[in-house]
C-alpha cells in the first residue's frame, strides 16, 4: 500500500518539492546577501534599547535597502495554501476519475485505502511546511534581531503556524473535493477559502486571541521634533503594535494636532515640530507572547484541518 | 487436429454443430481413431463459447460411441466410426437419385427440394423463428 500510495502522489509531491526548491532559489541568494550586509554593517552591535544616532541611521539604511524584497517575500505566505491544496489533488482525482471503483475492489478495505492515502498526503504536507519554515526563519533572522518577530508577515513565516496553514489548506481541499468530486473547481475553491481565512485571521482574529496589553507613556519633544527615541517602555521592545495614538495622561486618545510626530514619521524623517500632547497610548502584544500566539493559531488551523480531514474520510467511506 | 467453426445464424444449437463437425471429420478421415479432440479450454479460447456447451457436445459424442473420454488426459476418437455398411449407402444413393428426378419433374428447384428435405428430416415442431 505504501508503494501504491506514493506512486499515486508522486507527481503532486514532486511539484510541491519543486515549489519549495524554487522558493529556496529565491530565498537563499537574497538571504545570504542580507546576512552578509547585516554583518558588514556591524548591525549586531546596534541591538538593544540604547541606540546611538549612528546605529539608527545604519538600521534605517539596512531596512529600507531590503524593503521591497520583504514586501515580495511576504506573499510567500500563500505558498502553504498552494502546496496544501495541491497535495489533496490525488485524493479528489480518485473520486473524479472513478478509479476508486478499481482501488476499493482489490483486497484491502476502503477505510484502509482512504486512511493510508490521506496519511501520506499529511506527511508530505508536514514535510513541505518544515522546509518552508526552516527557509523563511533563516531568511528573516537579521530582521528579527532588529525588530523582533511579532510583525504580521514575520509571524506568519516562523514557529509552527506554517504547519497549521498547510494542513488547513489540505483539509479544506480534501473535504470540498470529497463532496464535489471535481478536482479543479474544488482546489480553486479551497485555495480561495484558505486565502479568506488567512486574511481574516491576520487582520482581525489574531489580535483578539489573547487580550492585548496597553501602556501609556510620556513623550518628550526634542528640538527638531518627534518623541525621543528610547523613551519607550521596555515591554514594547520587538512587540507587535496593534494601535498607537497620542493620548492624555490616562490613555484617552487626543485629537492629533498637525505636526505631532508618530514613531513612523520619526523613522521616515518627516516631522514638523509643533506642540506635543505629551503622551502616547499603545495597544500591543509583547514579544514574550510569541509562542502563545503561535500555539493558539497553529492549534486553530490544525484543529480545523483535522476536523475537515475526518469529515472527508467519513464522507468517502459512507457516502460514495 | 480439428478446428471448429460456428454458424451463429444457422439455427442449429451450438453443441450440435460441434457434434456434427466431429462426426464429419471422422467420416472424412480428418480425425482418426486415437486422435485427441481439442481440450475444452482450447475450444473455448478460440470460439468464446461456454465450456458447458463443449462438455455437452463431447458427452453426446461419447454416448454415440464416437469418442471416449479418458479422465485427466482428454477426449479421444474411439475405434471405427459407426458408418453405415457400404451396401446400404449404395442403395440409398440410387433411391435418392430417383427421387430427385421425380421432384424435378414435379417442378421443384434445388431450393424447393432442400426445404422439403429439411422439413422432413427435422420434426416440424422445432423450426426456428426467423
Amino acid at each position: 500500500m505504501i508503494w501504491v500510495g506514493w506512486r499515486l502522489q508522486r507527481t503532486e509531491v514532486l511539484i510541491a518539492a519543486a515549489i519549495v526548491a524554487l522558493l529556496a532559489a529565491l530565498l537563499v541568494p537574497t538571504g545570504v546577501e542580507i546576512a552578509s550586509t547585516y554583518h558588514r554593517d556591524g548591525l549586531s552591535a546596534c541591538l538593544g534599547q540604547n541606540t546611538s544616532d549612528g546605529c539608527n541611521q545604519a538600521i534605517d539604511a539596512f531596512t529600507s535597502q531590503f524593503d521591497r524584497l520583504r514586501s515580495l517575500i511576504a506573499w510567500f505566505t500563500l505558498v502553504p495554501g498552494l502546496t496544501g491544496v495541491l497535495l489533496a489533488a490525488p485524493f479528489v482525482l480518485e473520486l473524479e476519475h472513478g478509479t476508486y471503483r478499481l482501488a476499493w475492489t482489490q483486497s484491502i478495505t476502503r477505510r484502509r485505502w482512504i486512511v493510508s492515502k490521506l496519511g501520506l498526503s499529511i506527511a508530505a504536507a508536514l514535510l513541505v511546511a518544515l522546509g518552508l519554515t526552516l527557509l523563511e526563519t533563516w531568511w528573516h533572522a537579521p530582521f528579527v534581531h532588529l525588530e523582533g518577530r511579532m510583525d504580521n508577515s514575520v509571524f506568519d513565516s516562523e514557529g509552527t503556524v506554517i504547519f497549521g496553514y498547510t494542513l488547513f489548506a489540505l483539509g479544506l481541499a480534501t473535504a470540498v473535493g470529497a463532496v464535489w468530486r471535481r478536482a479543479v473547481p474544488a482546489l480553486v475553491v479551497a485555495f480561495a477559502g484558505y486565502f479568506a481565512a488567512r486574511i481574516f485571521v491576520d487582520t482581525w482574529l489574531r489580535q483578539r486571541l489573547v487580550t492585548p496589553l496597553s501602556v501609556t507613556w510620556p513623550v518628550l519633544v526634542r528640538d527638531h521634533g518627534g518623541p525621543r527615541k528610547g523613551g519607550e517602555p521596555a515591554s514594547l521592545n520587538h512587540a507587535w503594535v496593534i494601535s498607537e495614538n497620542p493620548s492624555d495622561r490616562f490613555g484617552h486618545p487626543v485629537s492629533v494636532l498637525a505636526g505631532f510626530c508618530s514613531k513612523a514619521q520619526v523613522i521616515s524623517g518627516n516631522c514638523l515640530p509643533h506642540k506635543a500632547s505629551g503622551y502616547m497610548h499603545v495597544v500591543y502584544e509583547p514579544a514574550s507572547r510569541f509562542w502563545l500566539l503561535q500555539g493558539l493559531e497553529t492549534a486553530m488551523f490544525g484543529g480545523i484541518a483535522l476536523v475537515l480531514i475526518g469529515f472527508a474520510v467519513w464522507w468517502a467511506h459512507e457516502r460514495i | 487436429m480439428i478446428y471448429f467453426h460456428l454458424d451463429a445464424r444457422s439455427g442449429v444449437p451450438t453443441y450440435l454443430q460441434l457434434v456434427q463437425q466431429v462426426r464429419q471429420a471422422v467420416r472424412l478421415g480428418i480425425l482418426r481413431p486415437g486422435d485427441q479432440l481439442p481440450t475444452v479450454k482450447e475450444v473455448v479460447s478460440s470460439l468464446a463459447i461456454n465450456p458447458n456447451t463443449v462438455l455437452k457436445a463431447y458427452r453426446e459424442l461419447d454416448r454415440e460411441g464416437l469418442v471416449e473420454g479418458r479422465r485427466g488426459v482428454g477426449t479421444f476418437v474411439s475405434g471405427e466410426p459407426p458408418s453405415p455398411p457400404p451396401e446400404g449407402v449404395k442403395e440409398l444413393r440410387v433411391a435418392l437419385q430417383r427421387w430427385v428426378a421425380k421432384a424435378k419433374a414435379a417442378g421443384l428447384d434445388e431450393e424447393g427440394m432442400t426445404v422439403l428435405f429439411d422439413d422432413t428430416v427435422r420434426p416440424p415442431i422445432t423450426s426456428r423463428v426467423a
Binding site: 499515486l8 483486497s107 | 470460439l47 468464446a48
Partner: protein, 302 residues
C-alpha cells in the same frame, strides 16, 4: 453442477434520493455458472453489481457473496471477487507493469504467474502507459487485474460495450478459458444480448430497477414459445400459460408465452423463440397481458 449460490440477493433495493435504482431484487447465482445480466441503460445493472462487490450499501434487503456480506465483511469477500467496473477504470498514468504491481501489492492472493502468462500471451506492452493502450488492451489489463487474484466470482460490468468486435471476441475468449480451467462463477452485464447467448448459461433480465426474468438459459429457451394463429384474443391461452407479449394484426395474432407444460391447442402454430426475442419481450412489450408483475416475478424466479 453445484447448487450452492455464489451470489444471493433477497429483496435487494438501492435508493438514490427519492428514486429507487433497484427494487425487490431476489436471485441466486449458482456456482460455476456464467450469468448474463441484461437490460437497457438505467435498468439497475450497475447498481446491482456495485452492491454485489461492496461498492455501495443496500437501502433495502440484503446481498450475500459466498455467504458473506460484501460491505460488512469486505476484508474476506474482496479477495474472492474479481471486479471490472464499467469503462474498465485504470490509472492512466501507470504503466502496465506498475498496474500489475498495484495488483500484487494490494492482493495477498495475487498469482504473479497468471498475470505474466496473460500479459505475454496477449502481447501487452509492459512499459507502455495504460492511457496510451487501445480500448481492447485496456480491457484486458483490467481483466488481468481481476483474474490474477484467482477469484471465485468474476463480476464484469458492461465489459465489452466500448470494444470493437475483435477486442470483444478476444475478451470473451479470455473469460471462457478461465471458466473452463478453474470453474470460476461469472456474472457479466450487457445491454446487447447477441454476444452473450453462446457464452452464458444463466440469464437475469433487469428493467426499471426490477428483475423481469431469472433462470438457466436452457430452461428459458425450452419453455418459451411463439404462438401464431388467426386473429383472436389471448384469454383462452392466458388461462393456462403466461402471455408475455401479444401482437395483433388484422388477420393474425402472435403470442409469446411461457408455457406451463405442453401447448396442445391445434389452432396455434408453435415455434421456438431465440433468446434475444425473449429478452426484448420481457423488456417492454408486455402489451395488455392481464398479469400482475408479482405473478411474473414469482413464476420466473421459481
Amino acid at each position: 453442477m453445484s447448487s450452492s449460490a455464489v451470489l444471493e440477493t433477497d429483496g435487494l433495493g438501492k435508493r438514490y434520493g427519492s428514486k429507487w435504482a433497484l427494487r425487490d431484487c431476489s436471485l441466486a447465482i449458482p456456482a460455476g455458472s456464467v450469468t448474463a445480466l441484461v437490460g437497457p441503460n438505467g435498468a439497475g445493472k450497475t447498481t446491482l453489481l456495485q452492491l454485489a462487490v461492496g461498492l455501495s450499501e443496500p437501502s433495502a434487503g440484503s446481498v450475500h457473496v459466498l455467504g458473506r456480506s460484501p460491505r460488512a465483511e469486505s476484508h474476506s469477500v474482496l479477495p474472492a471477487v474479481g471486479f471490472v467496473a464499467q469503462e474498465h477504470p485504470l490509472y492512466r498514468g501507470f504503466t502496465v507493469a506498475e498496474t500489475l504491481k498495484l495488483g500484487r501489492k494490494l492482493n495477498p492472493g495475487w498469482d504473479e504467474a497468471v498475470a505474466i502468462e496473460r500479459v505475454e500471451r496477449l502481447s501487452l506492452p509492459l512499459d507502455q502507459k495504460v492511457g496510451k493502450l487501445s480500448g481492447g488492451q485496456q480491457a484486458q489489463v483490467a481483466l488481468t487485474l481481476a483474474l490474477a487474484k484467482r477469484p471465485e466470482l468474476l463480476v464484469l460490468d458492461e465489459p465489452i460495450a466500448s470494444l470493437d468486435p475483435l477486442a470483444r471476441r478476444e475478451f470473451l475468449q479470455s473469460v471462457m478459458a478461465v471458466v473452463a480451467e478453474t470453474g470460476t462463477t461469472v456474472v457479466l452485464s450487457s445491454h446487447i444480448v447477441a454476444d452473450l447467448e453462446r457464452v452464458c448459461d444463466h440469464l437475469v433480465i433487469l428493467a426499471l430497477g426490477r428483475t423481469q426474468l431469472v433462470g438457466p438459459i436452457d430452461e428459458i429457451l425450452a419453455s418459451h414459445r411463439l404462438l401464431t394463429g388467426p386473429r383472436t384474443d389471448a384469454e383462452a391461452v392466458a388461462r393456462v400459460h403466461e402471455v408475455i407479449r401479444e401482437e395483433h394484426t388484422e388477420r393474425q395474432t402472435t403470442l409469446l408465452v411461457r408455457a406451463n407444460g405442453h401447448v396442445y391447442d391445434s389452432r396455434w402454430q408453435l415455434n421456438e423463440v431465440d433468446l434475444e426475442e425473449i429478452v426484448l419481450a420481457y423488456l417492454g412489450h408486455r402489451g395488455s397481458a392481464p398479469m400482475s408483475h408479482e405473478t411474473f416475478r414469482e413464476a420466473m424466479t421459481g
